[in-house]
Structure formats: structure tokens, C-alpha cells
Amino acid sequence: MVAKISIHHLTFRYNDTVALRDVTLDIPANEITVIFGPSHAGKSTLLRCLNRLNDLIENEETEMTGQILLDGQDIYGPTVDVTELRRRVGMVFALPIPLPLTIYENVVYGLRMQGESRKELLDARVEQSLRQAALWDEVKDRLYEPAMRLSGGQQQRLCLARILALEPEVILLDNPTSGLDPLSTAKVESSLAELKAHYTIVMVPHSVQQAARIADLAVFLLNGQLVEMGSAEQIFTRPRDRRTEDYITGRFG
């Protein structure tokens, strides 16, 4: 297995709270890695470390130790261009957050910020990304309407398309279906299943059930520590650690 992302002894602290404690983990390419666990396990923090979104925290003191390698390169290294990193490692948030722009402009936002302005390229990328996110048929006739007019499920697929337009290598999804109805959730899940052929997908799921439905690799976090990781099949049927079993079977959480 070739690791797309390697995390070595990652510890992350906000003020006096330790959110992640000595996490070591390899994330393979072209699979869906699911990071699950109860609230405050450090799942979102871990995800946000992977494209340095934690850098944007302003009002709290944060400290990170350990190393995160993307294709063998330290993403916290001194020569790393953070905006370029965030293009390569995209993030879809828990609640859909369309920018107050048109559908079209939402999709091309990241490209425009890179200075891309060729109309044909932007048009082509919009169609391609919206198709990949299974949204094209629903919005192709209303690309210039405000994105806020879309339904919640459509908005979340738009946020996915917005990331895909940047042709990233890794897609991070932080509980992307939390606000969605079951039908929309199914659409997002099936998009992800198709996308994994081309991308590395890391996802914090909405529930253990969702984790079991779509994960190839599963990672169980508890109180900032990595308890157990393995193939989804093994974790969800024969967990080795007692705490994993208790969580999956609903004894706590």
C-alpha cells in the first residue's frame, strides 16, 4: 500500500486542551478512509490539520507537534505554499456553505483565485465538476442563479463540486451529510463511491452506520487518541479493541 498521507506522532493542543495525542496513521490513495468516534474525539481537528485550516484559528493558542507528509513532503515545511496545499487538499464542511455568488461563480471560485480566467476552461470545468458531484442535471439551466437558492442537499453537492473544480488530490469531508435528508445523503455517498477511483478521500462520517456503508479503511478515535484502525470489514465486524466494539455496538457514544 502506498500512503498518500502519512501522519507521524501528531499532537495538537488548543489552549490547555489536548485535541489529538500522538496519532500515527497512513492514509492510502484511491480509497475512502473514515475517521469515526464520539464527540470531541479530535476527528475534525485531525481533518483540519491535513490542509492546515487550523492555521486560521485566531483567538486561541494552538500548538502542533509531529509530522504530516503528503506524497512524502512535510506539509508544514518552511517552503510550503499553503494556498497551493489547500488546492491539492480540499475540504467540504459539515454544513453546506455556498458563497454569496452564483452557482457558476461558486464552482470556479478557487480557479479564479489562482488567476484562471479563460472562459472555455472555466465552462468546461464547471460542467465536469457538477457532473462528478451528481448535480449537473439539476442545475444546468440555472447556473447564473444565486447558489443560496439551492436546497440543502444541492448546496452540499455544490460544495463538493467546488472542491472538484480545483482537481485536488485529496478530498476531506467533515460530516458532509449532517444537515441532509436520507435521499440527498444517498446521492452524496454514491458520488463519493465513484470519486474514489481518482481521489484520496478522508471523511468524518455522520454515524457509525454511514461509516460502515462507505468506508474502505476505518480509523477509530477516542479522546484524541487513535484506538484502532484497519479495513472497514475488520473494524465493523471483528474489532480487536474492546472500546471500539463498545462504541460500534452502541454501549457508549
Partner: protein
Amino acid sequence: MSRQKSQRIAFAILTILAVIVVVPIVLVVAYIVVQGIGAINWEFLTTFPHHGMKEGGILPAIVGTVVLTFGTAIVSIPIAVGAAIYLAEYARDTWLTRAIRLAIINLAGIPSVVYGLFGLGLFVLSLRLGTSIVAGSLTLGLMTLPVVISTAEEALLAVPQRFRVVSRSLGATRWQTVRQLVLPNALPGILTGIILGLERAAGETAPILFTAAAFYLPQLPRSPLDQTMALPYHLYVISTQVPGMPLQVQYGTALVLLILVLSMNVVATMIRSRFRRRRQW
């Protein structure tokens, strides 16, 4: 007394109090309109005063106020908007930003006549700009800064933080985020603040008293270094310095000033309400 009854009484008292707020403004405007409307005609708006200002029009004062307001805009908008962007988007909580905020609060509390005196000392005398449109605009601009900075900063902060995070997560830099996303969404609020600030500057007498205003000029100013007449100062002059001034001319002048300032206010309100209807978040 039942709870419903005391509720009704409280509601009635509050309504009366709210109406009392409206009464003075209506009375002031109505009084000035009634007293001054007779003076206003084409000649009054387009000619110079003559016969010791008792006759003729107020053209140079109108032009002067418009010019000074533009000058104030040129001075204050770049500084105020720049400062607001710095405070809202870049600054962290340090001794420097605390000092800046303290300075803004204090600037807002300084009486306008003190600005006038300061402008006289710095711009007119030390910088040798003389009593001029430039000196007056700089003084008024300075006075306008706190209002514009505070409202602009509020407008910027009203743009939800989540948009900034999304923008950065899509690989935009901080400046791109400000330029492409935050500023366009905050613009109506910033414009409202600018207009409210300029409106105050347009109506002020004290700051231009020693820095820009002339008692009477036989011609319109030709350069930014010329003195100028201005409506508020002209009103002060004809109300206190010219014996035997017809009352109607005084109220006519006041009415013109009022219309100028209120129409700026109307524009600000229109921008705001139009934006509220179009806003998506």
C-alpha cells in the same frame, strides 16, 4: 392590577415616548420649510449675494459646501476604509490595535471646534496651506474618520466568518478573500457610513471657521488653495453678523442646507434597504 392591564399601560407609555422622539424633528423641519420656502427660487440658488448679503442668492455658499464635502470624502474615505479593513480583517488583539481603537473612540468624542483649532494650527499655519479648501477638507476629513471607520468595520465584521474560512480553504489568500468576497458584501454598509460621515461634515461650522470659510467672496474659488464660502458658516454669518437681515433669507439658507443633508441621508437609507432586499445571507 392584572398582568394584561399593566402590559397594556406599559405599551401605551412606550408608544408615547417613541412618538415624542419624532415630534421635534417634524417640528424643526416643518418650521424651517414654512419660514424659508418663500425665499427659494432660481435666482436664490444661482446668484451671488449682494447689498450686504441682504439680497441676491447663496450660490457661492452652496458650491463651497459641495466642494468641501468632496474634499472631505477624498481625505477620509481611503484612510478610513483602509483602517477599517486593517482592524476587521488583519489586526489581532495587540497593544497597537487597542491603541488604535482607543484613538478612534477619543477622536469621536472631541468637540468640533477643537478640530477647527487643531486644523488652524497644523494645516493653516504650520503646513502653510493658509485658509483654504485643502485645509478645511483635511480638518473635516479628520473629524469624519471615527464615524466612517466604525461603521465600515461593523459592515466588514457583519460578513459571516464562515465565508472567509471557505474562501481560504479554496486556496484564496487573505487579501483575495477581502477583495473578492468581504469587501463587495460589506460595500453597502461602508457606503452608508461614508455618507453619514460626510453629511455631518457638510453641516459643520466650527471646523471650517478658522480653516476654510470666508465671510464673503465676490467669485467662486478657483483653486484648492482658495478660501470658500460655505452654507453653515454663511448661515451663521447672516444670522449673527449682519444687522437687518431679512428673516426669510436666513430660513431659506437653512432650508437649502437641510435639504442637502437630508437628501444625503435619503440616499444612504436607499442603499441600505436596497441591499437588505438583495442580501442572500
